[in-house]
Amino acid sequence: MSSRIQLRCAERELKNGLCCIALQSPESSTFAVSLSLAASQIEEGDDEHGLAYLTGSCLEEGTRRHSAVELAEAVENIGGSLSTAAGSVTIQCPADEAARAIRLVRTVGLEPAFDPRDVRRVQAEILSEIEADDADPRAVARRDFRRGVFGEHPLGRPSYGDAKTIAGFRAADLERFHRTWYAPRGAIVAASGPAPVEETLDVLAKAFRSFRGADSPRTAPLDPEMPHGRNESHVPMDREQVHVYLGHPGVRRSNPDFVPLLVMDHVLGTGPGFTSRVTRRLRDEMGLCYAVSASITQGAGLHPGAFTAYIGTSAANRQRSIDVFLEEIRRIRSEPPTPDELRDVQEYLTGSYVFGLERNSNLVGYAIRARRYGLGYDYIHRYPDEVRAVTREDVLRAAATHLDAERVVIASAGATV
């Protein structure tokens, strides 16, 4: 099947250092464009927790040319939808509005207004989010889990910071953060639609050639350390369910074991339907839960992700669920997957990836990841062979190397026995 799939993709680097990528999906009548910059919580200073998130959220609240309402009108007038986050701006729209969408992404990403009143309003909205999370046991458990796994690493704190830090920022702080980190070198803008790639690249280049900004020195945070033994916590909350996160620091996308770990994930905890081991046991056989998963590759990026197992269950089943997670981690570290398991996962992964090529927004995301992680745009063509090359021993070795059932963070919140 994959022989019929040909990804049309081209790249052009502008003089300012911005990488432009264009993809063509000839039959498509939709379009997606995304600007991606390294301007996340990783870039925040010690007194800036939440500033990247606030800055990203405020991008859609107006530009130097548009008030918040005018910007929303401009997006709606092209039938588009705009989403912004820390270091990213994305618009999806009908294909015949591609050029206007590209110009809008540029304006939103590079010329934000940061009007003090809008900033104050968004701060208040984020404080509401924090309040909502404080009352949500799943969010509480996740927050504690990430703090336990990542410690002082920036990924150990909530992306929105905390109530105290968020309330303290002023528009000038956002302007400074934007000036420092929204720079062209290392940034990527990718677009996908029906137009030929050279044509799209020309439009991207014209829109972004005036993008200026100096490189800022980046200091890579120290990698999180594995926990010493079992680090367990529970926050009692008066709810129907308890939410449990279990895991430890994970791997980068560049880890040479990534593909064997991807296969392992599907054997252990992310297989489709109820085919993975933990889902089969905890949900299908024991009926302990509605939602359960385990993965080390989800979240692996330029920085290490986390091996994360999750279950939402009743308080009476909390300990049994943890025990099953740990049993399955030990098992996959000590014995290879069965030949059937390996074959099933390989067939799934090599057959299903093509579904990710249907949406332009997915294609844009793929191109940005391929570039950022150094995979090459032809990775989509190499991917099936890489998956097929994984052996049972590869999975066993990767699991033994990167998973640990004895040194884990276990964080839960919610119903209590």
Partner: protein, 490 residues
């Protein structure tokens, strides 16, 4: 969407199939849609339609428990299912050289589910866990409370997930009875979209589904009487946030008013340029979030307004502001620029509903299952939006949005003092003439519940998660996100 590309298959036992060839990628999506939802549950059976959806993966005479998922995975595809008030849909996404396996599975499990008692008991726990999960979600609780208030007679009153008491009481035999009464070729239809040869597909469908025995027609349901007075309720939620839901009964999916209500939703609350967003979020700064949905179903449904308030803001004040904007909409109608923007957005959303083969299959299925006129209405969707003018929009607003038309539920923090609302609606203007003739037609949001939860631990910021939860309801109408993302990300 042109119907020229939709090939219809009709079998003598009442089964129908709609086939669309789309050959950009070697992919095929199938959706088998049963006209069996929570509306078809009798007294004491609440939750059974959704529970049955779970059991359809738990073993048949040909596919042992887990085999359907395993087989799908081995074929490099994905499957899922969902149940709402009006129906249950099972969908597969597969490569085009192996998609017919989906047909074989669907034909087999239409009649041959086993309902092993041990499997039944284990899955009951999963469903009860899903129910408990919903009870921890303040938006879900608010939504269900409002729905129960708006529908007092019609089976839309009870949640799709059912009541725990009924779920605990039912046994495998009761499930089998429900299955035999409801699942048959005349109560289902199939949609296939993708890289297929429609003639070959039609032959295979006839082979597999042609001999299946029909079941009795759907039971009629009670008609919800016209609501003559405002209805009010209060729920309590953990945490410190206050939320409000308002819902009024409207029309059936696919009726002309449904199209007008899509416009009105865009203008009043479902966009960042909407009147409520401007007033509540930007100008008055009393809400962190507000939205509206025009929710359509087989029977008359609901138009929703939902908001989350800033700390310390009086919910009665926010309700008053919402009502002011509704009154203004009824009195003054929609501005030309608003309608123009809404039209562009609606057309765009409609385009995005065809982005994947599964998107298209679900769209055709949704119209066939719910709309007056079935999937054939698709041909008239965009022309109808184009026909509707501002005068008609104002008339439709007046017909449905009268001050007494709303069921209103406040979600307050557990420790918040409750002040009685000062007859909010009655203080406002008298009902417009048009509004008094309202409420003949109605329809509602789809509290859709699915076999699988989101797999990834949520990484989205809380604001977006909260919005997502509130938008759970927005299941129909032009929308940009498909129900499922089957891909494994390389």
């Amino acid at each position: 969407m042109s119907l020229e590309g939709v090939h219809e298959v009709r079998l003598d036992n009442g089964f129908r199939a709609y086939l669309v060839e789309r050959r950009e990628l070697p992919l095929v999506a199938t959706v088998l849609w049963y006209r069996v939802g929570s509306r078809d549950e009798r007294t004491g059976e609440t939750g059974l339609a959704h529970f049955l959806e779970h059991m359809m993966f738990k073993g048949t005479d040909r596919y042992a428990k887990g085999q359907i998922d395993l087989l799908t995975a081995k074929l490099g595809g994905s499957n899922n299912a969902f149940t709402d008030h009006d129906g249950t849909a099972y969908h597969f996404s597969l490569a085009s050289d192996r998609w017919e396996t989906a047909l074989e599975i669907e034909a087999n499990r239409m009649k041959n589910c086993l309902f092993d008692p041990a499997e039944f008991d284990a899955e009951r726990n999963v469903v009860l866990d899903e129910l408990a999960r919903g009870e921890d979600d303040p938006w879900n609780v608010l939504w269900q409370a409002t729905e129960a208030l708006a529908f007092q007679v019609h089976p839309y009153h009870h949640p799709v997930i059912g009541y725990a008491e009924d779920l605990r009481r039912v046994d495998a035999e009761g499930m089998r009875t429900f299955y035999r009464r409801n699942y048959g070729p005349n109560r289902a239809f199939l949609v296939v979209v993708g890289d297929i040869d429609h003639e070959r597909a039609a032959e295979r469908i006839a082979e597999l589904f042609g001999s299946l025995e029909p079941v009795p027609d759907r039971d009629p349901v009670l008609v919800e009487p016209v609501a003559r007075h405002e209805r009010r309720g209060v729920v309590r939620a953990p945490g410190s946030l206050t939320r409000i839901a308002m819902a009024c009964r409207t029309c059936r999916m696919g009726e002309r008013d449904d199209f007008a209500l899509d416009f009105l939703s865009h203008v009043i609350g479902s966009s960042k340029t909407s009147r409520l967003h401007r007033r509540l979020v930007l100008e008055e700064e009393v809400a962190t979030y507000v939205t509206s949905h025009n929710e359509t179903r087989l029977d008359p449904g609901l138009f929703w307004i939902l908001a989350e308030l800033h700390a310390g803001v009086d919910v009665e004040r926010v309700e008053g502001l919402i009502r002011e904007e509704l009154s203004k909409l009824c009195d003054e109608g929609v501005e030309a620029a608003e309608q123009r923007r809404a039209r562009v957005q609606i057309r765009s959303s409609y385009l995005f509903e065809d982005e994947t083969v599964l998107d298209t299959a679900l769209k055709i299925g949704r119209f066939e299952a719910l709309a007056s006129g079935g999937h054939r209405l698709l041909e008239n969707v965009l022309p109808t939006y184009d026909e509707i003018d501002r005068r008609e929009l104002r008339e439709v607003a007046q017909r449905y949005f009268g001050p007494e038309a709303w069921s209103v539920v406040w979600s307050l923090p557990e420790d918040a003092e409750l002040r009685r609302p000062a007859a909010t609606a009655r203080k406002r203007r008298t009902r417009s003439k048009a509004a008094t003739s309202a409420a003949k037609a109605i329809k509602a949001p789809a509290a859709k519940t699915s076999r699988t939860a989101a797999k990834k631990p949520a990484r989205k910021p809380a604001k977006k998660v909260a919005k997502k939860a509130a938008k759970k309801a927005a299941r129909r109408a032009p929308k940009k996100s498909a129900a499922a993302k089957p891909e494994a990300r390389p």
